[in-house]
């Protein structure tokens, strides 16, 4: 249906597309990489937001599912020659040795493999609740990483995979990011999205309303893992190199930071905070180097940036418990009501 609201939405997407195209043409390599990272973090933030924010399952295993997506897609896109260069300790399993497929199918397969792993892991641990669930998912995320370190002939172990084709570009990341955004808005509006939120609000009441808790939690977890896998695949082909250490808990923490800063459960909040966090992660890099304050010099401390982010997180949790966006979603109605208020003030 092409009513006014839908037209505005399509217009917004077109404008975003044009802005991105201009940025893509004018930005330097370094800035472009940040632009791409922002798109990827939007996908990752939204996928964790679906699990943590909509459904209220406090999951800390996101990096694990990203790793699955990253490795699955990387093994499919690398050329046979590149694979034989990489796997010099032990040869790669024969089935994968001569496979080489396009990027888009590799991303999708990466997502599906992550979703399957997510579903298999979720089945036993979704019986747990709250902090117990958080610890179990944290454990599973680490287990995936440890397994990848030890499956020499499949993942090349601790050596990682090098020389991935750098397929990821602005077109891929942002098209997928925008599709993810549309998907999430649509999901939230649907009957299933509402059922997810009902589970977050009150499990016992949700179940007594006939909502199959296990089925819905599993669905949310699987969809979230799918997008984590997609994000992981994009990230792998942006970096060009992946190894198990990349997918430590710190990776999950970065995404969790985005979700919490943007208000757990808010889609637009997650988008805005994904962009802000990605840019400031790079912009604040000078904090890691030596800082000359005029009267004293702080020697370079790697990781200083994270101190600032931790402080920021504390401030947000203490003073803005509803995140940057609060409960509101940046929708057309929201903007209209703000505009009306503003007009009233003028008058």
């Amino acid at each position: 249906m092409l009513n006014k609201n839908n037209l505005i939405k399509i217009g917004l997407i077109v404008v975003t597309g044009i802005v991105l195209a201009i940025l893509n043409a004018t930005l330097g390599r370094y800035s472009l990489r940040i632009l791409n990272l922002a798109g990827i973090y939007i996908i990752l933030g939204l996928s964790l937001n679906l699990i943590n924010g909509f459904t209220g399952l406090f999951s800390l295993g996101h990096a694990g599912f990203m790793a699955v997506g990253a490795y699955a897609s990387a093994l499919l896109t690398m050329s046979p020659a590149q694979k034989s260069v990489n796997f010099f300790v032990k040869p790669i399993v024969p089935i994968l040795a001569n496979v080489e497929i396009g990027f888009l199918p590799a991303i999708i397969i990466g997502g599906f493999v992550a979703a399957i792993v997510g579903a298999i892991l979720a089945a036993p641990i979704l019986r747990l609740k709250d902090d117990y669930l958080a610890i179990a998912t944290l454990g599973f995320g680490e287990i995936i990483r440890v397994i990848f370190t030890n499956t020499q002939s499949l993942t090349n172990g601790a050596l990682g995979l090098k020389g991935l084709p750098s397929y990821t570009n602005t077109g891929y990341t942002w098209t997928i990011a925008i599709l993810t955004i549309i998907f999430m808005f649509s999901l939230r509006r649907s009957s299933y999205g509402k059922a997810f939120m009902a589970i977050r609000e009150d499990e016992i009441a949700a179940e007594s309303m006939g909502i199959d808790l296990f089925k819905h939690k599993l669905l949310a977890f699987t969809i979230g893992s799918f997008f984590a896998g997609v994000g992981g695949a994009l990230l792998a082909h942006l970096m060009g190199t992946i190894d198990p250490l990349m997918f430590r808990f710190l990776m999950t923490f970065n995404i969790l930071l985005i979700v919490v800063l943007g208000e757990i459960g808010s889609i637009s909040g997650t988008i805005v905070s994904a962009i802000i966090v990605t840019i400031s992660m790079e912009w604040l890099r000078f904090l890691d180097g030596p800082i000359d304050l005029g009267f004293m010099v702080i020697h370079s401390v790697p990781g200083m940036r994270m101190v600032l982010f931790s402080l920021l997180l504390m401030i947000v949790i203490l003073y803005y418990q509803h995140g940057l966006m609060g409960q509101d979603e940046i929708t057309l109605e929201f903007l209209k009501s703000k505009l009306n208020k503003f007009k009233k003030k003028e008058a």
């Binding site: 649907s190 509402k194 059922a195 009902a198 016992i204 309303m209 909502i211």
Partner: protein, 254 residues
Amino acid sequence: MSILRTDSITMKFGGLTAVSELSLNIPTNGIVGLIGPNGAGKTTIFNMITGVYTPTTGNIVFDKIDITGMKSHLITKNGIARTFQNIRLFKDLTVLDNVMIANHLRLKSNIMSSIFRTPDYREKEEHILKKSLQLLEQTGLLEYKDDKASSLPYGKQRKLEIARALATEPKLLLLDEPAAGMNPQESIELMEFVKEIRDAFDLSILMIEHHMQVIMGVCEKIYVLDYGVNIAEGNPEEIQNNPKVIEAYLGVDE
């Protein structure tokens, strides 16, 4: 004709017998009361009927189906809905969403068709929306439909919980202390409301209540529970004059 029958159900928690050998019989279209002092096991009975607990022994038969040990959400699907003693609304969601969620179980669309909004799904959603709005109108909550559930006044929250339970299209409605915290005026309104919905939705109702006025005014049959044991059953008059009931509530001279 009875809609729900329990055959001497017993619920033990370790060494404690919360409910022992209880046999309830709820007639179709009847309003039945369940009373007893605090800790008598009333809510435990609700939890057994709705599948939160599985009775240690005994069977529960609802509408000719044995529902003993069935999962909660399947029991709701079969047609038993409930409200809670301490209101359990989806607080951060709107009143309309609260009721629409209760329709989710009757929605026969899969997740993909609901996300991609296929014409078939849209039609179903339209139907659910219409039904929910109608239900809110019947229960007098229509004007609050876009408000957050937690922003409603207490009495309306109780009503919304009942509306939400009705949205699951139950045959039997379990009300756990619907009049708790209400003033006498509100209690009388509630009595009328319970009778109204029974007729409008063709329901059978089982309610736990402490307000004697409400129980005596609305119930056709009453079960009295004390320490998990059924000590009396009958119509309001019989119950009021039953010495065992008086003893359970007021104690007896030694």
